[in-house]
Structures are given as C-alpha cells and as structure tokens.
C-alpha cells in the first residue's frame, strides 16, 4: 500500500505546531495503528492516550480531519485520500500532543446527586424490564467525552464550563431522572446551575457519539420537558414518579429480575 502522510499537532500548553510524518500503512489499519507506528519509528515521544484498541475504553478521542473520532475505530480506508490531520480535542486544555486534560468532566461527575432509592420494601426492590432497558442506552457511554468536545456551548465559550454539565452528563441526569427507584429531584439544579437551557438541540453531540446514544432525542429533550413540567410542582413531580412505578402489576411485566 502507498505511504500516507499524517499531519499531527505536536506541542503542550505553551504552544505547538503541526508536524508531518510520511509512513507506511497496511490493509485494514485504523488511525491508532498509524500513530503507534510513528511512535515506534520516528517519534517515540509522541503522546497519545489509548488503552483497549477496541472502542470500549474511551481514551483515544482526538479530532481527525477536524472531527472528533476514536482513533482506534477510525479506519484509514474510510478517510478521504490524502493527508490525514490529527489534533487533540479542542475543548479541553492540552497536556501534550494529542493528550488533553479531561478533568473538567470528572468535576462535573462529582456534582451529580446520587441515586436515592426509597427504603427497601419487603421482598426487595423490583424493576420492570422496560425501565431497565430505558436506562441501558445511557449506560453504553464509554466516557470518550467527544460529545463534550463538540458541543458549542463550551467549545466556543470557555467561561460556560462552570455552568454547563454538557451532553455526557445530561444523559446521566436523564438516566437517574427516569429511574423508577429514584426519589431525588435534580430539576432545580439542572435549570439553575448546570445550564440545561443553554442547549439549543443542535444534535452535534448525537452525531459524534461512538456508541450511537440518542443523546438529544432520548435524554436532553425529555429532561427539558421535565424541567418545565408542572412549574416545579413537587406534588405533580412526585406523583409522576410514583405513577410510573406502580403503572403495571407484577403479572403484566414480562421479565422479572433474577433473585
């Protein structure tokens, strides 16, 4: 196969520039294979984060030809012919080369009020399969933070970061909100401190999600509805939660949880 030219951003917090590497490639390789070959030959100090090489750990996020992608799941033969440009995620501070400091996300994670289940009823908690499956979509998240990277609310407005949870955490909030065994109310927090209102449903986050989570349709829009719902009428809110929990009788539920 013909050699490929990779244009890779090299540098650190103080600045940097692009460097070109012309390197061999083999059939079926992904961008991460090429980065590894550059490390093994020309630039052993080229920093990049990776772990599983299987699209499951969420470490190898970068911007390939300007688009957030997992380097390990981006096939070279899927990219247009010519030079391939690889840059670090723009929204997060640079550590070195392709490695960014994503700790903003961990700070946001700390602010999520945990699941608060009601006291254990006799015979243990019970959940309907449907409720399990609804949350399951959000649990596919591998925390690659590419949705956070692409969202213009923080990509273009650094100052918004303190006030904006971002799509990755909106799905976490949605999952908790939809959890039939949760009694916490996070609506005020979402509206006043976590910037749910800043999101104008551009769906850029959904487009880049490697797990194909319907971030906007299945999480953000339902969350927005809940936040405006019933003008924060706590009774209506509680009623909604309880209604959901007792909507079906056990006999109607198709699958019972394993003991």
């Amino acid at each position: 196969m013909a050699d490929v030219t990779m244009r890779i951003w090299r540098g650190d917090a103080t600045g940097g520039d692009f460097e070109n590497y012309t390197i061999s490639q083999n059939e079926g390789e992904v961008v991460l294979d090429i980065i590894h070959r550059i490390q093994a030959t020309e630039a052993p100090d080229l920093a990049c984060r990776w772990n599983c090489k299987a699209g499951k750990c969420g470490s190898c996020s970068a911007e390939i030809n300007g688009k957030p992608r997992l380097m390990c799941m981006t096939r070279m033969d899927d990219l247009p012919e010519g030079t391939v440009t690889v840059t670090p995620m723009k929204t997060f501070p640079i550590i070195r080369d392709l490695v960014t400091d994503v700790s903003f996300n961990f700070e946001m994670a700390k602010r999520v009020p945990a699941l608060l289940p009601p006291p254990m009823p006799e015979g243990g908690y019970r959940m309907f399969q449907q409720d399990v499956e609804r949350g399951q979509e959000f649990r596919k998240c591998i925390e690659c933070f590419m949705c956070q990277d692409v969202c213009h609310v923080i990509r273009d407005h650094e100052e918004n970061k303190v006030n904006y949870a971002g799509p990755r955490f909106f799905i976490r909030y949605a999952e908790l909100e939809m959890h039939p065994l949760d009694t916490n109310d996070r609506r005020e927090l979402l509206k006043e401190e976590l910037g749910l209102g800043y999101c104008n449903i551009t769906k850029c986050c959904t487009e880049v999600c490697p797990e194909h989570i319907h971030i906007t349709d299945n999480a953000i829009i339902p969350l927005k509805e809940r936040v405006v719902d019933a003008d924060y009428d706590p009774v209506a809110w509680l009623g909604r939660k309880i209604r959901r929990r007792t909507k079906k009788t056990a006999a109607e539920a198709s699958v019972q949880p394993a003991p």
Binding site: A40, P44, D45, L46, G55, D97, A258
Partner: protein, 332 residues
C-alpha cells in the same frame, strides 16, 4: 451448584443438573455446543488446527454464530462483537463467520499474597487483582476476575489500613537505593546513543509468543531463558528522546525491566513445571501430574534488582479451609 447458574445461561446450556452432567459424558448430548469448552482447550484446539494447515486465511479459524442464532438475537446479545466486526473488519457476523485466534487473555501467576489481607512478602506492599497470584489456580474461569477484584481489592484496602493502624509501619528508607532507582529511570533519557524501546518490546513479544506461548517444550523454554538474558542486556542500552512529561517512549523504557522480570519468571516456572495443567501445556509432558498439584513455584529475586538472578522454591498449597470444603461437598 446448578442452582447458582444464572437463568440466562441455563437456557442455553442445560435446564437440569442431569442434562448438564450428561454433556460431560457424551458431548453430543445436551444443548451445550462443544465450542463452549474452557478457554485453554479452545486455544489448544485452534493452535492444533492452524499447525495442521487447516487455518483460515489470516492464520486463525472460523467462528460461526450466523447459522445458529437469528440476526436479532446476535445484535441484542453480542452488541460489541457485532459492532467491532462490522466497523473494523467489514464482517457482518449475523450473516457470515468471523476469523478468530487465541491471544494472551490473563496471567494466572502473580505476586504471592496472604489471602486474608493481600499482604506480600515486602512489608507494607499489598497486591490484589491480576497482579496477585494463586486465586485462579491453573486456569481462571470466565467472569471470575471481576469478582476477584471486588473481593480482594476490598481485603487489600482493609489489610493496608490495618497495617498502618497497627503502627509498626516500615520501613527503613535507603536514600542511596532511591537515588539509584531515579538514576536508572532517567538513564534512557540521558543516553545519547542506544536502542529504541519499541523495537525491544516488539522483539520480546515475538520471542515470548513463539517460545513461551500456548504449547511449550523444554528445549524451547531453555532457548527462551537464554534469549531473555540477551534482552536484559539490550534493555540496559535503551535511549529515548524528548522530555519527561507524557513521553510514551520513556514510559516504555521504564516498563521494560518489569516486562523482563515477568517474562523471566514465566519462562523459569514453565520450564520447572514438567506437566500440563490448565493454561500451561507442555508438549513433552502432556498430562497433569498429581505431584505437581501439591505446590506452586514461588520465585524470588536474589539481589532484589530487576536483572538479578531469579530462584524458585516449592511453596506447598494450603489446605482447603473448612467452610470451602463444606461448600464443595454441598455441591456434590
């Protein structure tokens, strides 16, 4: 014991204990297909097929689920596998078979610990998880690593806390040793000329795969031990460029000595274990030997450095605790 098998697996393997047992006597009976053998047997079978010239184009074998399950089932139950084959290989596993081959999955050996506290022979050092040895015997069962982490991770944490609270916290600190370690770590950065760590890592992987891989023989293990001595010398001559911040080449240079410690220990223990058991297969000793079931090989470094000679001692297996014995008897 059958009662503990989750519903989901029962539906696919056997509904009753009798049906499950029947399979062991007659592999055509029952629902459990023979591909669901323990990993070591599957790996050996693949290896045999490939060596006999019956391998797939890329040197593996074909695994087929498309003819056994519906596309909906495959997508629902094997979402990651479906996704990865589709995206990375352009193979639709709901319609065609996949090419597979055995790979290194787990290291059954590890640092010897006291099971209750996860304490090692080094005062103040605790080990849990894949780094610790002994828990999974000769062949770990699927799923058991994650339960190991939860149980023994907790014990290690409590063990460490107790150790500190007990107050006899170590330890003599030898400034000279610390300085030597720092110098050793920095040497590759300071060396003007030397070998690329990636080349050494690649060669080490190839050599270990070829000589200390799935099927082992005495002469090959001896050859590996000699080669490992050469690798030890090569590692002392690594040179990397760049600075200390997030420098993968330098990180690899500082990992390589540990990779050699593990490789040397594996090759030595494998050469001493003149039997086949679990994940360890010796072509020259194809059967398990009951004498070898009585002990582990406990290795130690005589000089304490990564390149010091390693010696092996037999460490007798502890008798089964009464409560575990009772559990096993209950199961039978």
């Amino acid at each position: 014991m059958f009662n503990y098998v989750p519903e989901m697996f029962r539906a696919e393997t056997a509904e009753t204990e009798e049906e499950g047992d029947k399979w062991y006597d007659d592999h055509t009976a029952g629902r459990r297909p023979p591909e669901l053998l323990p990993r070591d047997e599957v790996a050996r079978a693949i290896n045999t097929e490939v060596k006999a010239g019956r391998g797939s184009p890329h040197g593996g074998v074909f695994l087929d689920i498309a003819s056994r399950r519906t596309p909906e089932y495959i997508r629902r139950r094997l979402p990651s596998m479906y996704h990865q084959f589709m995206e990375l290989a352009g193979v639709d596993i709901t319609r065609e078979s996949m090419e597979i081959g055995p790979t290194c999955h787990y290291i059954m050996g590890g640092v010897q610990v006291i099971a209750d506290s996860a304490a090692t022979a080094v005062p103040g050092l605790f080990a849990a998880g894949e780094a610790a040895g002994g828990l999974h015997g000769a062949n770990r069962l699927g799923g058991n690593s994650l339960s190991d982490l939860v149980v023994f991770g907790r014990r290690a944490g409590m063990g460490a806390a107790e150790y500190i609270e007990a107050g006899d916290v170590a330890t003599s600190f030898n400034m000279e040793e610390a300085e030597a370690a720092v110098k050793g770590a920095l040497d590759p950065l300071n060396r003007e000329e030397g070998e690329n760590p990636y080349t050494i890592q690649h060669d080490l992987q190839e050599m270990m795969q070829a000589l200390v891989g799935i099927i082992r023989t005495g002469p090959e293990l001896e050859e590996a031990k000699d080669k490992l001595d050469e690798f030890t010398e090569r590692v002392k001559n690594i040179s990397v460029k760049g600075a200390r911040a997030y420098n993968p080449g330098w990180n690899l240079a500082t990992d390589l000595p540990s990779m050699l410690t593990v490789s040397r220990s594996t090759a030595l223990a494998a050469s001493l274990r003149k039997e086949s058991r679990g994940g360890h297969t010796r072509e020259d000793y194809p059967n398990p030997d009951p004498e070898f079931a009585k002990f582990n090989f406990a290795l130690s470094s005589d000089g304490g450095n990564w390149d010091s000679p390693i010696s092996a001692a037999q460490s007798p297996l502890l008798p089964l605790p009464d409560e575990l014995k009772a559990l096993l008897e209950e199961a039978h």
